[in-house]
Each structure stands twice: as C-alpha cells, then as structure tokens.
Homo-oligomer: 219 residues x 2
Amino acid sequence: MHDDPIPGTELFRNLNPEKQEKVFQAAVDEFASKGYRSASMNSLVRAAGISKGSLFQYFHAKEDLFAAVVDMAAARVKRYLKRVRDETAELTFFERLEWLMRAGFAFIDNHPLLAKIYFHLLQSGEAPFGSERIAELRRQGEGFLADLVRSAQRRGELRESLDTERISFLLNSLLETLLRAYYTEFLAPGLGLYRGDADSLDRWVRTTLDLIRNGLEER
Amino acid sequence: MHDDPIPGTELFRNLNPEKQEKVFQAAVDEFASKGYRSASMNSLVRAAGISKGSLFQYFHAKEDLFAAVVDMAAARVKRYLKRVRDETAELTFFERLEWLMRAGFAFIDNHPLLAKIYFHLLQSGEAPFGSERIAELRRQGEGFLADLVRSAQRRGELRESLDTERISFLLNSLLETLLRAYYTEFLAPGLGLYRGDADSLDRWVRTTLDLIRNGLEER
DNA sequence: AGATAGAATGACCACTTGGTCATAACTGCC
DNA sequence: GGCAGTTATGACCAAGTGGTCATTCTATCT
C-alpha cells in the first residue's frame, strides 16, 4: 500500500522480505524498549536470530539502523497528519482538534512501538544525529497545528489577535503530553489516562478541548 | 540557612564540608549533563579529583548517589513551591500563575543543573528506583496546582464546573514544557524561548496566561 | 563433481562499565 | 619513635559495548 523505500545496505535491500521484516522489527522492539543509547546490538541480534556479522553487513552502524527506524516512524506520523488534515477540511477548528486527538490515540493503538520511538526522540533529544533533525520533526508537527489555527482564523472561528506560532507550540505541548501519558505509566498517575478505555479518553478529550476553547475564567 | 540533611555514608558525613561539596557538585554536574544511565562514575571521579575507592566509600553505589542528588533537587523544588504559595496567597489565580511561571524561570537561572535533573527525571522516568517515587514527585507538583485551582474556585474566580484534577494535569504540562524549553535547545526551535531574555519570556508568559484564561474561541 | 561468487558466522578487538579490596598513607596518642 | 585506627588509593574484576574480518557455508552454473 505505502511503498516506503527500503533502508540499509544493498545486501539488506536484496534480502527476502520476511528476513528484512524480522530484522527490522527486532530493531524497532529494541529501540522502543530501551531508547537509542541503551539499545544493544548484541541483544538485538539475539532477538532477531541472526549473527552479529550479518547485522553489520545490513547496516554499517548502530547509528544507521536507528536513523532508518526513525525515518520510518516519522514517515508514518506524517502520513497520519496528512490524512487528518485532508479528511477534516470541512470541519470547525475544535472538531478538527478533536479528530486529531482521537486519531493520535488510535495511532498509538496501531503502532505503539513506533509512537514510543517517535515521542521519545522528540522529548529526550537522545539521538546519534544532531538536534537539527529533531527540531525539524518538531517543526513538522507544530507547523501542522499552525496551519489549522491560521485557517480557522481566516474563517473567523478564532481570535485574530492570537500569537499563532506560540499558540501552536502550546497546543502541541498539550496534545503531546496527553498522547505520551496514554502509553506511559508514571506521567499521569491515578488519572485514568494511561491505557485508558474509550470512556476515560472521552473525558480527557472533552476537558482538554474545553480548556483550549473557553479557558478557565468565570464569566 | 536551609540545613538539608547530609546524605551518604558516615564517612562522607564526617568529611570536611569543602570536600563534601566538591564531590557532591561533581555528581550533580555528571547527572545533569548525562542523565542517570549514561552518567559515569569513572568520569565523575576524575572531575572530583578523588579516587574511585573513596567515592564508593562515600556512597555505596551509583544508585545511592543519584538518590541523594534527586532528594536534594526535590527538596529545593518543594521549598520554591511553598514560597510561591505563601507569598501569593492574596493574589488572584492568574496573578499567582504568573508568579509561578516567573519564579520557575528564576529557579532555573539559579539552579540550572538541579532543574535539569529534576525535570529530566520527571519526563524520562529514567531512574534506578521504581516509578512510584517519580509518580510521587508528579503528584506533589500537580497537587500544588490543584490547590491553587480549588481556592480560586472557592473565591469565584474560576468556573465551578472544572474538572480540577485533569485541569491541573494540563496546566502542569504547559508550565513544565515552557520551563523545559527555557533550557533545552531543540524543544521550541526558533521561538525565542530557549535562554530567552526578559522581553521574550514576557511574551511567553502573557500568551500562555491568555490561553489559560480566555481560551482561543472568538466571541 | 567441481569451481566460483555471495552471504552468514562468531571469535576476537579495544574500550568502558560499576564495583572491590589488599595495600599504602596519614592521623593522633603514648 | 612506635603503634593503632582511620582514610585514600588504583590495580583488578567480570560483564558488556559497538564493530571487524578471516573463515565457512550455500547456492548456482558448467
């Protein structure tokens, strides 16, 4: 369906797809559960059931393998953002935000490991490549939100006076926290967000949207 | 002024204060710049100018040393929260929030390394002890915000219908992101928050408070 | 069956890790 | 000075790291 370009050395790209998949999936598992630094090529190799020599013939270095995994995660996220944007073009700003949140939860349900890698990178900055790449990923997410805000302003749904860029950053921060807490145990202890069921997520979505829409002040 | 209890073994507690300070400061430096896992006792020992044997006589394990550093950071944060609460008791909710944010920036200016350790722990969960300790630190911060919200509700400043706990979580998320981005380069690329000057912080404070107070909807 | 090219292997390398412990150095007391 | 008790030291340990490469295996073609 989505022909992602195959990463790695020519040798790896010529491998039969099942073996490619097995190796790549083992890498995703390893990086998702331990992060870049603590991920171990030895344990990866053990899990994938191949020899260390082979792995290093498929990817020249740990760094390259991680970059390939991140590329894939980022591409998936981008596709999901694009889909939300296109499918909600006719809706109001707050309806679009709601869609975005629910699609985010669904994305985590469908790709829990990729989501973990993606958000972990965004939050920790722990990566072999420079932080420029990370900043770029952030801009991608916030730029998407900024587009939503601007087009809502044009339609008169949001106040014209808003500081679009800063507001997008703050919105992004709210959504990111929510999504991270959905799969991270200690982020929202006792608040029913971690692995929450549909009802619980519903309340979170409503509460968050209400804050963003109306603020807290009594009037 | 604040007599924090001295951590470590009896031997360490009997050391002359300058040496205590030298060792502890080296630990703070190391954990702040590398996080728990990647912090190296070898490099710490080098920086402190003592032998490895001595360090392990002062603290039995890396884990103990880290716990001592975290205890100190958490105690400082707690004191700073208490101070804000007491000194702003007469102000309105939004004035108090503003104080809280500005005091947060000042805290980072005064204790950049401790702040880094504290927030890194809260965000990454990377610690030798269980996540219960981390959850407890989170509850401390969010509980503080929840108190502010509730007392403002009693005074009629905020809507009664608010979901206090969830709102506190969201507010905490906003403030935490802002403070983290103040000392982290890649979190808000190109938005003038990282190491921002007084004017820039001013805009951020105003924009954030405006969102929290009024929301985004045109009315 | 034999030759050849391509792929798989794991012993091996230099290096780092947290932690130990026999020994050495220093201290105050008689 | 000689002794005793305390503190400092760094060589050493087992385990782990990312990465290499000479060797072996395997599949294909003649």
